[in-house]
Amino acid sequence: MFAFIASRILQAVPVLLAVGLIAFALFAYVGDPVTIILGQDATDAQRRALAHDLGLDRPFFVQYAHYLWSAAQGDFGISLRLAQPVSALIAERLPATLELAVTASVLAFAVGVPMGVHAGIHRDSFVSRLFMVVSLIGVSLPTFVLGILLILVFSVSLNWLPSFGRGPVVAVGSWWTTGFTSWAGIRALILPAVTLGLFQMTLIMRLVRSEMLEVLRTDYIRFARARGLTDRAIHFSHALKNTLVPVITIIGLQFGGIVAFSLVTETVFQWPGMGLLLVQSVVSADIPVMSAYLLLIALLFVAINLTVDLLYFCVDPRLRALGRRAETRGR
């Protein structure tokens, strides 16, 4: 098990270094930071002095190492647009994005899995067909169009739910803020979470359904029927557990997708998170923020992949055996 995790982490290192290289190349070379900071009219002496201060006159790999080292300590440079440390900007917005993403994921999982199981077992029932139609719309409905339609119905026409912002938030610990402590905060979360989660929900539903259909055709399910097990045991113990491995993969990968898609949702609902920050940075060519976002997203994806691998371990005994074998080989 330990060897398995170690090998996965080792595999992730080149990926992180490569993404880091891209992020650094952006940071150091795109848009000429010296001109951006000093403007067009600076003298050569001023430019050289600033380049020296910024470390731009040092060899490439020294600069790269320095950038990575600073990033590892949480220093991503200064935002060109807001003239504040990028790390502070991100720390301020991270809780909002994570709260939204986690809520949307939980929503998508809690609704999508039961729908998929039902549609897989009763594939021709009316409800299953309805689910499939709804899911097709869910997959094809662009996130921002969905958001606009929800705002139109629930905020403009019915006036039930707020259409923008995060509502009142309370500080927890030194830097985390949460909207979960008040009813107004939770209400503000509903529309964005539904908007962000619907696509993932339909994806999970379709995946669970097709995996269920696949598993229900296998010999071991046929044998379980021949053993006279109850439908309940067959569907929810044997079939569902066997669909879990691919479902975990997709859900894991989808969490990364959710964080990325949150930038659309955050724009529609003016949700003060990292996505909104990124979009504003792209508009104003704020390279340090873009570099930092790229690095953080890569880190997040690596972390998610690792978690997914660990979950496999818990679910599938065959992988546990593989892991053990790898470990004994390792010694």
């Binding site: 296998t218 071991y220 046929r222 044998f223 029927r225 021949a226 439908d231 044997h238």
Partner: protein, 321 residues
């Protein structure tokens, strides 16, 4: 005493091309404790017969005629729940490929305990003790330790032993074994067949052994039924059918067994292939389904379908018998 009685069984599978009839009027009996071999080419309807008896026909297949009596009661029209209680408890089943028959995510002990507790009033500990005994009985070494192992940790032969234990652990009266050795190494096949025979004889369990291997039938069965294109063409005591095959198809089949063929000095082959009842009108020949391949064909075979009638110790569907 008759345990299982199949009467004029017809199975139909509707498809886009029309209505296929892969089983067309099959009748046979199995006595208590008897081993009946069902032999035939793949596609002859052997496995579907087993599936029809246990109510596990693949969708959208259905029983379109005839009936199945088990222990004197009709079971082909039972509601799903009662049929389920019968499966495993009164009728056990074994499938062809032991590598795919066991759920990979549960230990063999869990699967045994689960099966027994579904059918028998046992506590978890009692079921576990019995599970260990069963693994012992089917010849898994160190059953005490192996009970917590997952299927992938067993070899193919051992997995089939586990499958046999699973099929028999709720003490059924009838075991339907569908090609139980086909997927195994030749060296393992004999052991599995010997184990099946020993367990069946010891417990008085009747066995319906589906196979395309006449050699296996000769070794273990009391009686044998030969199926061709969804019908039984010959059924009788194993000795009679093997020594004096009456139907030309059975005769041809005997020629394909090396040990029998040695006596006949050559390994024969039946020319042509079996018609498949796939629903198209011209797939099944009029008259005897075997007539296009039959070496002894004559006019009547092309017009009238022969029915089973007594010929010596057997029943044979051939105009020559």
């Amino acid at each position: 005493m008759t345990l299982l009685s199949v009467r004029d069984l017809v199975v139909e599978i509707p498809s886009r091309r029309g209505l296929a009839r892969p089983i067309d009027g099959v009748s046979f009996d199995i006595e208590k404790g008897e081993i009946l071999g069902i032999v035939g080419e793949s596609g002859a309807g052997k496995s579907l017969t087993g599936a029809a008896i246990t109510g596990l026909l693949p969708n959208p297949g259905r029983i379109a005629g005839g009936m199945v009596l088990f222990d004197g009661n009709r079971i082909d029209d039972l509601p799903a729940t009662r049929m389920r209680r019968l499966r495993g408890r009164r009728i056990g089943m074994i499938f062809q490929d032991p590598l795919t028959t066991l759920d990979p995510l549960f230990t063999v002990g869990q699967q045994l305990v689960e099966t027994m507790r579904t059918h028998l009033p046992l506590s978890d500990t009692a079921a576990r003790t019995r599970a260990r005994d069963w693994l012992d009985r089917v010849g898994i070494p160190a059953a005490n330790r192996r009970i917590d192992a997952y299927p992938h940790e067993f070899s193919g032969g051992q997995r089939q032993r586990v499958v046999i234990a699973l099929a028999l652990c709720a003490e059924p009266d009838l075991l339907i074994a569908d090609e139980p050795t086909t997927a195994l190494d030749v060296s393992v096949q004999a052991h599995i067949i010997a184990l099946l025979r020993a367990l069946a004889r010891e417990r008085g369990t009747a066995v319906m052994l589906i196979t395309h291997d006449m050699g296996v039938i000769a070794e273990i069965a009391d009686r044998v039924a030969v199926m061709y294109a969804g019908r039984i063409v010959e059924i009788g005591p194993v000795d009679a059918v093997i020594r004096h095959p009456t139907h030309p198809y059975t005769d041809g089949l005997m020629g394909t067994i090396p040990s029998v063929a040695r006596r006949l000095d050559r390994l024969r082959q039946i020319d042509g292939s079996m018609p498949r009842p796939n629903g198209t009108r011209d797939a099944m020949p009029v008259g005897c389904a075997f007539h296009p391949r039959c070496p002894k064909v004559f006019d009547r075979c092309r017009q009238e379908r022969p029915v089973l009638h007594t010929a010596g110790a057997s029943l044979v569907a051939c105009w020559l018998a």
